[in-house]
């Protein structure tokens, strides 16, 4: 047994090395996925812009009282993307808007994922009435038309950034929950869960050690798709006038542009940039999600 | 002599990103009409790859050299039309896992009828139905079972339906890949009985693939034992099973004991180690790392298959020396 006494240290170190190798392998697969790489690059640019917003465009640019441009000026050397109806630079609005849009998207997704995963696993793992009730609840949320519910909730809760996050998070989890539930149902029947039960494992252990690690890849892949939906929803709600009026997001920009008749007056520079940004970010998250799915889905991986 | 089926020095190599992997390495074997030939070996020994070449069913990444002759014609270079004819009516396959090979939403009668209809378009509906009924009765199922869906049948019954489908167009050769592996002994005996009767009655050739030497010994006339892509022993079934020449064949034969043989009580026999990786075969005799009888020369000399006067052959240095 003398050989084994040295093992604990090296065993843990080796385990860490293995994990690093797994990450490297995953990264190699991801890199070979061209669309996913493009998506990731574009997203990185957006995130950097959002983080560096105070450096790229001073915050005073957002204040109506300090606006320097004219009303709905065309793009020029001074204002690359023109100005809005209050004389502010559209580029500044766009840069600061990306902060809110991405923040709302990510936070709402986090909420949605946590709810979806918990409900999905619980309703899949526990049969009987617990599972049945949770499943009905999921279905119930799924069949309610999503937008009216979100509008009602936003109206009731009031117009603030946090409320928008909550509204989106609370309305977008059922899809995730269903996905996780079905995955849990198949994993529950695997022989290794039976083995764990015979070893004396309770449900907490079974969920934490066996089910969660096996559904996590699916949760991650699903996250990127949900972010896209959340950003779109934020835009929609803001466009409908239910956003936080004190902050600029791409959605509120579109709402304003529409309100001042940017379409009829031909002020395209007020409408197109936020629109394009929304589409671009949503598209990129979807591309990354697809690439991630390929990296994390072991069955797709085996076929290669 | 021209048999029904003849493998002439057949090799199959899979081309992978990691280099060429030889799955079958120079196999020669023949099957005559009315003869049952067994191919034995562990998973990964190349027996299923070899069987796939009979109908040119090997994956496109596989490169086949040598000749696979069916009634004198090379299957591998055959024109597409001829190959289709061969697949329809010349030779057919029975796979293991009948549940996955049957369409779950179609009655089994319709599935058996499909090749018949395609093969003989002129046949009337009632004639086709009669033919399906006959086929089911040949495999020991009542003709009325044609109306059943696959899930209404048991494992043994589904395997019989698979055999009936294989018989639909009156093939001259049947290739059965582990047809009884998932079945209980009693059902296995039933299915083996069906196959035995078919060979006797219709004079078809049967190639039977299994990892269970005792099943092959029960049914076959001749057995070829494969290891790491090669035939290491070949001969009359009874002889190969009861008095094997090659140590690997001996190990396979001993792994299923004779019940009642006191020597096997509390003494299960097996082989240490695992089959070799085809991409990284041992030097010399590819069996030597697991061989209980290896000696120095085994590590360097690759023995060839040598036949003796009694129609037996083995690829082993010990046998060559005998």
């Amino acid at each position: 047994m003398s050989a084994t006494t040295a093992a604990p240290v090296s065993a843990r170190a080796l385990a860490r090395r293995r994990r690093r190798e797994a990450w490297r392998r995953g990264w190699t697969t991801f890199r070979s996925h061209r669309a996913g790489m493009i998506g990731l690059t574009v997203l990185t640019v957006f995130v950097l812009v959002a983080l560096l917003a105070p450096l790229l465009a001073p915050a005073e640019g957002l204040e109506v009282t300090k606006a320097t441009g004219g009303v709905l000026e065309k793009p020029s050397g001074e204002f690359w993307l023109g100005t809005d109806d209050k004389g502010r630079s559209v580029l500044t609005l766009l840069i600061w808007g990306s902060r809110i849009s991405l923040f709302v998207g990510l936070m709402a997704t986090l909420i949605s994922m946590v709810i979806g995963t918990i409900i999905g696993i619980t309703s899949g793992y526990f049969g009987g009435w617990t599972g049945a009730i949770l499943f009905r609840l999921t279905e119930w949320f799924l069949v309610i038309p999503f937008l009216p519910l979100a509008i009602v909730m936003a109206t009731v809760l009031g117009r603030s950034l946090l409320n928008i996050v909550i509204v989106i998070g609370v309305t977008s989890w059922p899809g995730t929950a269903l996905l996780i539930r079905s995955q849990t149902l198949t994993i529950r029947e695997r022989p290794y869960l039976e083995r764990a039960r015979v070893l004396g494992a309770g449900s907490t252990h079974q969920i934490r050690r066996h089910i969660l690690p096996n559904v996590m890849p699916m949760v991650f892949a699903n996250t990127t798709l949900t972010v896209a939906i959340a950003i779109l929803t934020e835009t929609t709600l803001s466009f409908l006038g239910l956003g936080d009026p004190t902050r600029v997001s791409w959605g509120t920009m579109l709402d304003q542009a529409f309100g001042v008749g940017a379409i009829t007056t031909g002020a395209w520079w007020f409408i197109v940039p936020p629109g394009v940004c929304v589409v671009l970010v949503v598209l990129c998250f979807t591309l990354v999600g697809q690439a991630l799915e390929e990296v994390l889905n072991p069955r797709l991986g085996e076929r290669r | 002599m021209s048999g029904l089926l003849e493998f002439e020095d057949v090799s199959v190599t899979y081309r992978t990103s990691g280099g060429d992997v030889p799955a079958v390495r120079g196999v020669s074997l023949s099957v005559a009409a009315g003869e049952v030939v067994g191919i034995a070996g562990e998973s990964g020994c190349g027996k299923s790859t070899l069987a796939a070449t009979i109908l040119r069913l090997q994956p496109p990444s596989a490169k086949v050299t040598g000749r696979v002759l069916f009634e004198g014609e090379d299957v591998q270079t055959m024109r597409w039309g001829d190959l289709r004819a061969l697949r329809w009516a010349g030779a057919s396959m029975v796979f293991q896992g009948a549940l996955h090979s049957l369409n779950p939403v179609q009655r089994v009668g319709a599935q058996i009828a499909e090749p018949i209809r395609l093969h003989e378009e002129s046949l009337s509906d009632s004639a086709v139905a009669r033919r399906v009924g006959e086929l089911l009765e040949q495999v020991g199922l009542p003709a009325a079972r044609a109306r059943a869906y696959p899930h209404q049948l048991s494992g043994g019954q589904r395997q019989r339906v698979m055999i009936a489908m294989a018989l639909a167009c009156g093939p001259r050769l049947i290739v059965a890949d582990e047809p009884t592996t998932a079945l209980d002994v009693m059902v296995q005996a039933q299915v083996l009985g069906v196959l035995r009767d078919l060979v006797r009655e219709f004079d078809v050739g049967l190639v039977m693939i299994s990892h269970d030497l005792s099943v092959l010994a029960d049914l076959c006339d001749r057995i070829a034992v494969m290891y790491a892509g090669r035939v290491v022993e070949q001969g009359p079934a009874g002889k190969v099973f009861t008095d094997p020449l090659h140590p690997y064949a001996a190990a396979l034969a001993a792994s299923f004991p004779h019940i009642g043989d006191m020597a096997a009580r509390y003494a299960p026999s097996g082989l240490p180690g695992d089959p070799p990786d085809p991409a990284d075969l041992p030097t010399g005799c590819s069996f030597h790392p697991r061989c209980p009888k290896r000696f120095g020369a085994c590590e360097t000399t690759d023995p060839q298959l040598r036949s003796d006067s009694a129609g037996r052959a083995a690829a082993c240095l010990l046998v060559e020396g005998r």
Binding site: M1, G200, A201, H210, P213 | M186, G260, L271
Partner: protein, 331 residues
Amino acid sequence: MTDTVLEARGLSVTFGSRGGPLARAVDGVDLSVRTGEIVALVGESGSGKTTLARALLGLERPSAGDVLLDGASLDRSARGLRAFRRRVQLVLQDPAGALNPRHTVYESVAEGIRLHRLDSATGRTETDLVAEALSSAGLRPPERLFLRYPHELSGGQRQRVLIAGALAMNPQLLVADEPVSSLDASIRGEILALILHLRDTLGLGVLVVTHDLGLAWNIADRIAVMYLGRVVEAGPTEDVLRDPQHPYTRALLSVVPEIDHMDPVVLTGEVPDPTRIPHGCRFHPRCPALADGSAAAVADACRGTALPILPAGEGHHTACHLVAARQGAAS
């Protein structure tokens, strides 16, 4: 060392489909396994052998009868089951599916140790216990396998890892469900030899559930043949397999390939549906002795009189009217 005995007494397990008839998968079975003994539970699929094994492990709740460990009824409380798990362990059939693909060998074997905090209970490190379990299962040197994943192992190695996982709990009894049926012929003997070796060195008792009579001949001390939820013949392996009494056992033995001294008796059909167990002797509709007239004298009993449950203990017992009549006539 005192013997530990796992016992089924009049055990029945029924499954009900909603509104449908009850399936009596196990229908009154007495069976016992003690430490240092290998018992083979033999039957075809549908005979109820796997359900019986699961009930003995406390994974199915019996509808009647009881599971006893050392004469005491199985405590089904969470704590009772936990204690039971340390003494009775399971080795599953399909080693590829029974190991979590995302866990390394080390994690899989350590799972039971962590669940029962065996390291502090024994005063040894977890790594030590894992290494010891792997070596007991014949995987040496164990450290080389610690960080492998199941898909990087061969079938035989996976089965050994599963056995190591069970051994890490230091159990007294092992239930092995078809331990070699998914393995290649050459690996089979190695795993069976391991089971024998564990019995000899650790004094383990093993219940092997299988459809393979050759396996029983290879390793089992006693054998129990199951048909449609009941044990129909039980006794020492030599007696049962060399001198089978029940027509069903005889038929099963006769169809094992390459048994030349018996004419194959191929039964028609398959094990009937456990929702409709025939009256009288449950085997009578397929019984070859009844069909060929050799059991004509007891035919009425076969069709109408149910047979008693066979006792679990020593000796060769058969649940058959014909055998009972013959023995009555002989004595």
